[in-house]
Symmetry: C2
Subunit: 419 residues, 2 copies
């Protein structure tokens, strides 16, 4: 009966068109190279393991084994264990002046799951959302997986240009197709490093109300401010549940525990909970217990100053190395926090094309197209400073500068080849 001919075998699997927009993430591919000998990677967005509160986690684990192993290793509720949601409620009140109840919070398997859920729950395939331009690659993949179109709004040093947003909303309304939500990363943007000014946050809320479009505020880096003063969260200025807010314990606790959360409108949260039953039943219960103890013991408050001390030095080293080495026709953001610098180089250079040369020269980055939903920009790169050491930052930027010079020289000598 095993009659399969080649054609039959070839056609055995057909794949959903939902995936047609998706391509392997350069970042995830680069993660695989991260341990390549001698390569200095500015590519990932990984925290420095020196920031992990290992001793405190060890004490927490000992207590979990002593007191809660029957629950911590068991299935948990889809929304997240209630003690953790109560601690998250306290956290967002204390750090971002956000008022909510624990019923308005859904714990997620990293904030990536929250990004996927927002896109899946709020947007019919084929419809649109607004993002900053550039925007986070994980938001792009979540939207692509759900066939959601992205309309990008340019940024400057003060974040998304809300004047351009207003124009766009006005035009979209005239065309009868408002976006389903406006996605912003207001603090120390990934990849751009910019922070949305207070004035623009207020403008953004006004536009959300006027056009009746929800805002999705993604704040993974808010606690990692190295200079300047905190700006109030958009959610804290929310007049009436226009804002869905998401956070994560990947940048301050540890990423491997995959704990994020999303909060906002109660009906929306109930839909997220319903979807999450289909996605993974529940978040890792052990991680939820760890995160609960981490918050209850106020370890975050002890960890943040240490993280800031480590990352501020790296950020300063990165900006100095860029200033000392990068070609004069380049420019870059000067972030007050977070993990990334966004560099714009010689317009003749295609940073995707240059990546192979760069890796050969011993340094990696993520090219700008990864952060453009429609891949329109070619001469940007995201440079991470949280993971590499200060020494590697200096050496890596020297290698990258050399790479830029070599690439520019080749283009000049043979312009056709560069196209």
């Amino acid at each position: 009966m095993l009659t399969g001919n080649y054609y039959m075998i070839y056609m055995k699997f057909t794949f959903s068109s939902m995936l047609s927009e998706m391509k392997p993430s350069e970042i995830r591919e680069l993660l695989k190279m991260a341990n390549t000998k001698g390569l200095i990677s500015f590519g990932g967005g990984m925290p420095d393991p020196a920031t992990f509160p290992v001793e405190e986690l060890e004490a927490i684990m000992a207590d979990i084994f002593k007191n809660s192993s029957a629950n911590a290793f068991q299935y948990g509720v889809t929304q997240g264990i209630k003690p953790l949601r109560e601690q998250i409620r306290r956290l967002v009140k204390e750090t971002e002046n956000i008022d909510c109840t624990e019923d308005q919070i859904n714990v997620t398997s990293g904030s990536q799951q929250a990004l996927y859920a927002v896109s899946k729950v709020l947007v019919e395939p084929g419809r649109s959302v607004i993002t900053e331009l550039p925007t986070y690659v994980g938001a792009i993949s979540a939207n692509n997986a759900n066939k959601v179109n992205m309309v990008g709004i340019e940024m400057d040093d003060n974040g998304m240009r809300t004047d351009l947003l207003e124009d766009k909303l006005s035009k979209m309304k005239a065309g009868g197709k408002l976006p389903e939500f406006i996605y912003v990363i207001p603090n120390f943007h990934n990849p751009a490093g910019y922070t949305l000014s207070l004035e623009r946050r207020k403008h953004l809320i006004e536009l959300a109300v006027d056009y009746n479009v929800p805002i999705v505020e993604d704040n993974p880096y808010g606690e990692l401010r190295y200079y300047g003063s905190k700006i109030p969260s958009i959610k804290s200025m929310d007049p009436d549940n226009y804002v869905i807010y998401m956070g994560t314990f990947s940048k301050v606790m540890t990423p491997g525990l995959r704990i994020g959360y999303v909060l906002g409108d109660a009906e929306f949260i109930s839909k997220v909970n319903l979807l999450k039953q289909a996605l993974d039943l529940s978040t890792n219960t052990l991680s939820e217990y760890i995160a609960y103890e981490y918050l209850k013991r106020d370890i975050m408050k002890k960890q943040i100053p240490k993280n800031i001390e480590i990352y501020r030095k790296k950020r300063d080293a990165m900006l100095k190395a860029l200033s000392d080495n990068f070609p004069s026709n380049s420019k870059w953001s000067k972030p007050d926090g977070g993990m990334f610098v966004w560099a714009t180089v010689d317009p003749a250079i295609d940073t995707t094309r240059m990546l192979a040369r760069s890796v050969k020269n011993g340094v990696a980055y993520i090219s700008g197209v990864s952060f453009h939903p429609n891949a329109e920009k070619r001469n940007n790169m995201r440079i991470n400073f949280s993971y590499p050491s200060v020494e590697d930052i200096h050496e890596g930027i020297r290698r990258l500068s050399k790479t830029l010079e070599e690439e520019a020289a080749e283009i000049e000598s043979s312009p056709a080849k560069a196209q």
Copy 2:
């Protein structure tokens, strides 16, 4: 500018039609009641925490803190850490005689994520798959979330009736719409408790080849056999990657660590990996390290006999309690393994309607409609025996029998009310 009137506020969020088929799972709701004082729950599908290898996990955690904390708490690769995939490759070879490479394996956040990915990757919304009838509620929610239709094939004591499957495939082919895959839980089926016979496994493979339709073999309970002899996995008889196989460490290691896996056709696995970047970036890294050490140290081989000893007693107690107490017009499956008995009661009884009375009487179950994609059956229930104690099994089945008698008496006295 805060001009929002009631209409505007009400319409702020619109929800994707992808979720219209989804309703809150009775099981997840029941999990919330699981700690209600005095309630005996046959509702969940939870392992007995007495089976958790807590001492061994504690030793593993101590070693992780000593040797691997910088990696175990860091972001991991989307496909799953390679050492774990190598151990899974060894495991499926040893236990199920499955040959594959570690590149053909994707670690998932519980097998629920694998169910979601299979549906999302292989099926265009609006198209169909075949399932057993009844089938696992998590597969129903995954398919509903992706707008995938389910066509059910009735089961008997030997599992899915492949004669009916053959008829159905023939009709679907004649109609020009073959299903995208055939989903089966061959061992100790959830919810039905039946095991697919060797003869039918062979027939199933023949049909897959003849009709060129992939099989998705879901095997969460395979290691939990209390009587009889192991039957070869469908994947081990696979002539040429017709079978996608999925497994989990929720039933033998612990569920709270949320580690599942899916293996099969290389192109399919690459698509799962791509989708997983959008779903959650990667599985919990700490859990992956724990699962790796658990397999490397062969703890599973030590744990399984203990689990079997505990569960066999519970299964025997359950079948005895049913035989001693249940109304004579009921029947139920006699599973050789797994965690569930499937009972069919008086056709006049709607088990969904009866649930409130049952909880009032101090016992919970999951009504049969939860396991029927189109909710067509009304007089079945799934009864779990892995979680409750032997004493609670006896007492709970007494309560449930009393509930059935009360419900039947009420229907007899007032038939209209029962409709």
